[in-house]
Every structure is written in C-alpha cells, then in structure tokens.
Amino acid sequence: MKMSWWKIAGVILVIYTIVMGFLGEVPKLAILHETIRNLYFHVTMWFAMIALLVVSLVYSIKHLLSDGKSTAQAGNAVDSNSWSNLLLKNDTVAAEAAHVGMFLGLMGLFTGMLWAQFTWGSFWVNDPKLNGTAVTLLVYTAYFILRGSFNDENKSARISAVYNIFAFVLMIVFIGILPRMTDSLHPGNGGNPAFSNYDLDSNMRMVFYPAVIGWTLIGVWMLTLRIRIKKLENKIQ
C-alpha cells in the first residue's frame, strides 16, 4: 500500500474533526444548541461532494477533448488492454468520482436530515437547498443509469460525459443561483443570517476548515481506491 502524506493528513484531519467536533467549545445558541456541531459534518461533506463532482466534471471534459485522438489511434476498436487507452481512463475517473461524490452527498443528506429533525421539526422540509440535494441525487442516478444502457464502452463513455457536463452546469445553476432568489430556512438566505455573521467564531473555524480539507482528502482516497479496483478488474478480464 502506498502511504502518501495526504492520506495521513486526511486521516489526522478527520480524527481531529471528530474529536474536536464533539468535545470542542461551541457557541450556545437558541434552537440549535449542541446540534451546531453537525456543521462540521453536514456542511463539510457537502463541500467535499462538490469537490469530487468537479473532479468528475473535469475528467468528463478531458475525456471529450481526448476522445477524437485516442479513437483514431486505437482504430475505433476496443483495445485488449483498454487501460493503456487514455480514452477510458478519463471516463473511469469521471464515473468513480461521481460515485464517491454521490456517497458523500448521501452522507451529507442523512446528517442534514437529522439536523433538520431537531431544529426544524421534520426530516424533510420544502426548502430550496433540499430540493437541490434531491435534484443532485436524481441527476447522478440518471447518469449511472445512462452509463449502463450502452453495449459499446466507447460510446457509453462519450455520451455519458456529455450528459455529465450538461447536467452539472444546470445543477450548479439550481443549487447555486436559484436558492438566492427565494426564501430558505438555511442560514444566509431569505433574511436568515449567515453562519459567518454570528457563530462561526474563531473556535469553530479552527475545526470547520480542517474538516473540509479532511473530508475532501478522504474522498479523494476513496476515489483512488475505486480506480485501483477498476484497474484490477480490467486486468482480470
């Protein structure tokens, strides 16, 4: 096993997050009380998800840009050792990054639902950000279904990359721009003050930012593991 510094850093940061997240000082606020500790998990996992989905997007773009060249080299036939074929490498990274991103998204969703139950009184509320989550999950499920509905790997890779880019841009519009046009229960929207205004004091910042980096690094580690599994599966075939 390759021990890279960033894997160790990721583990240390996540352990630090968990320990400090449960034991550290947090501001005492009405309604939120101790649930504010969820900020270190719910929000940060979503940051990590966005990071991985961006990785997925970048590799989809890379795939489309390199597509023409590699197809010409491989003579449009699927290589026996297709991993050496740059074409499917980019596509595999894109798909696996979407998988890990979706996993982090689900974790963020569950932690968020718990938080919503204890602060807003219900596991699911009609809120622009929650709708954004639902759409994100639906879009990536559709992406996986699309990937599965081709017989030809090259075609699957190309068309799914197109859908990934198309859906990602509209999803960002949906979760990034539209919520700002409507009211939301989330902080920073519709008259609710943003966290940074009152409670992300220096204590919380000391946990919050390391947590974002930590979860992202763990996500990337999961991604490299999944890619290695894919590589091995490819070799066996």
Binding site: V135, V139, L146, S149, F150, R158, I159, A161, F174, M181
Partner: protein
C-alpha cells in the same frame, strides 16, 4: 461551420416531416386533452389557484417529454448517414431546437386554452402568464432535445428521456411555476426578474447544447 441556408432547409424539413406524420401531433394533442379532462373530472370544478397552476405545469412538462421522445427516433439508419454527410451538427441541432421550442410553446398555450375551457381561467395577468408559458416551454424543449438526442444513442432507450430530463428540467419548472403563480394572483406584478432568469436558463441550455452536441452526433 454554420450555414443559414442549411439551417433554413433543415427547419423546413422538420415541419414537413411533422406534417407528413400528423399522427404524432395528434398523439400529443390527445394526450393533453385527456389529461386535462381527467383533472376536470377528478376535481369536479372545485380547484384552487395553487392546484390549478401546479396541474397545468405538470401536464405541460409531461406532454413535452412525451412529444420529445420521438424527435430523434427517425434519425437512425440511412437518414442518419444522409444528414451526417450533408450538414454540420450545429445546423442540425439548432434546427431541431428551434422547431421543438416553437412546437412546445404552441402546445403550452394550447394546454392553457384547454385548461381554461375545462377548469376555468383564474389568471390575473394573461400577458405575463403567456410569456411565462412560452419561456418555460422553450426551456423544456431545449433540455429535451439534448436529452432525447442522448437517449437515441443508447441501446435501450425506453423511458430514458424522462429519467434524464426531469431532474435537469426542475430549475426551469420551479422558476416558471413561481412566475406563473405571481401572474395568476397579481394583475400588475412585475415578474421580469423571473422572465430574465428563464431566458438566462434557455440561453445556457442552448450554449451547452451547441458545444456538446457534436460529441453526441459523431458516430
């Protein structure tokens, strides 16, 4: 490469093909009529504004999905090779999107007319409402012509169009519903912000399709 003359003749071809196979238009019309009639029977004339608005948009959304499913269905085999040789992807895509946008906008207004006939017309500002309908339906058409192109390339595309398109149509649907509910209740409300948002979404969709369609089209 984009030639106006090519675009024009492709657009003409779209209309011609649609006119020749009129059953396709009738399918969508009958779909719209029957779903509106079902809602009329189900509500027995007792329907409030919010329900009216949501039902209308749901019917428009699904008849759009329904209509789009066949927009690339004739595009396989020999016809595909002819198009492939004669025109660039950009020309083909823009012709298809333009046709779909016109068609969906007309269909949306048609569904609105049927709805007003059966369930009453509670709209306060008809101009604003119709503008919202047109922009919303155009957005649906843009997303749908892209996703149905994607679905037409798969090996098993039954129902795939709706799976692929419904999540990414939600931003359009929600902003259009918001704008139309304002137009429903307030006669002289300013909904320009929402209309600009819809126009922006439409522009984004067309730009993205323009950039990405060549990759789908290549075989």
């Amino acid at each position: 490469m984009f030639r106006i003359s090519q675009f024009k003749s492709l657009l003409q071809l779209e209309f011609l093909l649609e006119w020749r196979s009129r059953f396709a238009i009738y399918t969508v019309i009958v779909y719209a009529l029957s779903t509106s009639y079902i809602s009329y029977l189900a509500f027995q004339g007792d329907v409030n504004l919010k329900t009216w608005n949501s039902l209308l948009w749901i019917i428009i959304l699904f008849s759009a999905v329904f209509a789009a499913q066949r927009s690339y269905s004739g595009q396989s085999g020999y016809r595909f090779y002819t198009f492939y040789q004669l025109s660039s992807p950009a020309e083909l895509l823009l012709a298809k999107v333009t046709y779909q946008m016109l068609f969906q906008a007309v269909m949306a207004i048609f569904i609105y007319a049927v709805f007003s006939l059966l369930l009453g017309n509670p709209v306060a500002s008809v101009t604003n409402f119709i503008l919202t309908l047109i922009f919303g339906a155009m957005g649906f058409a843009g997303v749908l012509s892209m996703t149905s192109a994607i679905a037409s390339k798969t090996d098993s595309n039954l129902g795939l169009v709706s799976i692929l398109s419904v999540p990414i149509m939600l931003p359009i649907l929600l902003s259009a519903m918001k704008a139309s509910s304002i137009a429903l209740m307030d006669a002289d409300a300013d909904i320009r912000l929402y209309l600009y948002a819809l126009l922006g979404l439409n522009a984004t969709i067309i730009m993205l399709s323009y950039l990405l369609f060549p990759y789908i089209w290549r075989e």
